[in-house]
Subunit: 338 residues, 3 copies
């Protein structure tokens, strides 16, 4: 079990509650770090930092656009980093600073500094005695690999990835690359600035990950592949995606960021799945379909945008009948005009 | 020629007749290995083991679902591993055991045991003197690489792969990863159990394989890329696929398991091809098409499901005319009712 | 800036004006190299060699099919390698030889000979002191890597690639693999013969390239990714593609050879883009679309073939109405016939 794995990697434990500080940090010291000004109680302590929709009481959150001011101020966060003093703070403590996004990056870098992978197999990795890591594979810092798991040649397991027992990672797979997630402002020379990823990847027991498949780390939490799920080659799993247990994900499927997939789901080859949606348990999505919105459990889907397969198949038949309709309408017109 | 290559790798020869035992094995000793009970002549000898549709006289086959009992018992196999004694054996010798799938795995593991790649370039590989293997490339156990072939950095050539002469394998390509092929039972905690792959990959002369392309090994036979065929980057070729000669397979194409592709076939970018179908000689399939069923030779195809391009193009035109039809039907209705 | 990078890699400078000879070469010596016969002034000097549509005055060009004779003879080239003497030379100097394609390969190989990557980090590479190259990464011959750039484990940077400052290349990415570009003749045993790639890859400042993404080198010029552009995982960028600045290219997109993409373009996941077309500035192409022809700037596109999204969305609605039309036409027929 993953819980057991974590025990033998105790120094890593705090990391697992993603984006929480190891020990609470005062608001005032955060303000000093980012060059901001506290409005409220500077002695209050922050437990962590997170995005608006994942933040919890005790956490910091940042906002840099008036459009989102109120949403952020009304979120679960206790402390708000913002680029303008506001009248209504909804009881939050505020840190005002010029560039809240840059402040967020500064905080992440400070508490979770970037560490290069400096050896093929990091000395800080915990690899079970029965696990097998083949030549050319990379095992990053603080990685955990469970019993009887096999890492094929040239697979890359980046920092803080946790791999359970009886897992197979095929050659060229990349686990834990950064999220494709940017702060966007079109009034500067470089429009997109990367949000530093503070999350990681968790692979549960009995999972298989195909060759050259990519599973990105979470931005502020985790990307998780559930027990017994099998993923084929050249698949893309975006940041913060959670895949349930006993799923089949065929080759060249792509799942965009923060989407959740239930248990027993089958996605056939080259399916694309939109970001931040949910696929219900036990659904099947036929090859090449494009899933743009959440799907109810237990059904078969196909096409772009993906709909129930029976509906879509009838559509294909209807399209074949347009020519016939055309002829019949022309005949009706002739009769009426004639 | 491949035949010549094989001669200088003689220890490997038996492997090439995939899933045949090096020397025949008695039914009784198979039964002992898997804990089964022979019904029939235990002294009879088995030549190999295979799937229902590939099995030959002298071979073992297994069946674990009543739905397939008769199909298996009437197959070309001489010996059947089955989970229940049956009255009608169609003249076959039977080995009854509780878990035929697990028995199959036991036999494969026993006669073709898993061997880790323990060195970047395996000592058991046969690499022609004029071949070039660049840094970071992996050459697995019993791999054969022919004259003037080039393996670019970080490509991975897994066990038993055979590469002909004048072949180029680009960086990050993975040849010989396991088939994505599972025994499925939804009444257990882990639904999917991997069928061990006993087959391998064969790349004929003058082939080029693009960067990060994956070619899986066969389950019980071989995955073969025919002479002079050129495959672009990020392509997925499933287990037991056979591609003919002088084909062009553009980037990001996916071909599912056990499909056969004729000679002179062109698949443009991002095409998906279903499993266990056949594409005829000299066809062209336009970009992003989804091929769900076998295609007759010599034509051009497009769309999902792929049809002759001329038919599909007319369909696109017909769709553009629905709005016009709608207006005309409305006018007809007005006239008749008016 | 790239210009500065180039200064500290001076020996490479001539390479950057792709397919130009370091010093001019006489027509007569080219003819001797390829076994051809000069018709015209053998003492004239050639500055380089290129394709029909990229060739400049002073360059060589080759033609081996009567269909293209005139096009080549009327191109900007000064010297033509051709397989038959022609009456009208349009003032060009001609080198007649039996196999112009093979002659082209001979010239490329002679002046730009294939060099194996013989070390993980080539001694001829120029890597800035502040750049970070992690374990397992390959840095080929004459590669340039700018300040503060990060190359993740097992990424492959092939010969002559130029990487600017503040660039991130993720694990498994392959930059500079050969173009998928062949000379085709169906009357020989091997139909496709690779055109040797003489070009290279240029990655401008502030670019990010995702895990297992492939960016092929140019055939006779360069493949360029513009400043600030962010490319996700498993993307294919073909030879000689030029991508502008501040573009977003999501996972599993494929862009075929020699296409140009403007600035501020967003291509969502799994989009496919045809070869030798142009995408205008600031367009968005929705997921899984297939772009078959050039697109005007500033709009949103979707579907296959890609059209303006508003048009395509209406089409989806019209398709849903065919069943209704069918019923209404049947009723009209009944009324008229009744």
């Amino acid at each position: 079990m993953l819980e057991m794995l974590i025990q033998f990697n105790n120094s890593n434990f705090e990391y697992l509650t993603a984006m929480k500080f190891k020990t609470p940090v005062s608001v005032e010291s955060i303000a000093q770090l980012i060059g901001g000004k506290v409005v409220g109680d500077g002695n209050a302590v922050c437990s962590g930092i997170n995005e608006i929709h994942k933040v919890e009481a005790g956490d910091l959150c940042f906002v840099d656009h008036p459009k989102y001011y109120e949403k952020c101020l009304r979120s679960a966060a206790s402390y708000i980093i913002i680029d303008k003093a506001v009248e209504e703070t909804y009881g939050k403590t505020i840190i005002v600073c010029d560039q809240p996004f840059e402040a967020y990056q500064t905080i992440i870098s400070h508490f979770n500094p970037f560490a290069a992978v400096s050896q093929s197999i990091s000395a800080s990795a915990s690899i079970a005695a029965t696990a097998l890591v083949m030549p050319g594979a990379i095992v990053g810092n603080h990685v955990v690999i469970g019993e009887h798991s096999i890492i094929f040649p040239n697979a890359v397991i980046l920092d803080h990835t946790i791999i359970g027992n009886h897992v197979t990672i095929h050659s060229g797979a990349v686990l834990g690359a950064d999220a494709f997630y940017y702060n966007t402002k079109k009034n500067r020379e470089v429009w997109y600035k990367k949000m530093l990823s503070g999350g990681h990847v968790v692979i549960e027991d009995d999972v298989e990950i195909g060759a050259n498949t990519c599973i990105d780390r979470g931005v502020t939490h985790e990307t998780r592949i559930g027990r017994g799920t099998k993923i084929d080659n050249l698949v893309q799993i975006g940041h913060d995606v959670v895949v349930g247990s006993n799923c089949i994900i065929a080759a060249q499927v792509g799942v965009a960021g923060a989407t959740t997939i239930g248990n027993g789901v089958t996605l056939w080859g080259q399916v694309g799945v939109n970001k931040t949606i949910h696929l219900g348990d036990n659904i099947q999505v036929l090859g090449q379909s494009g899933v743009t919105a959440s799907l109810a459990p237990g059904k078969m889907y196909m096409g772009y945008p993906a709909e129930e397969a029976s509906v879509k198949r009838r559509e294909f038949v209807w399209i074949k009948r347009i020519a016939n309709l055309w002829d019949r309408v022309a005949q009706l017109e002739k009769r009426i005009e004639g």
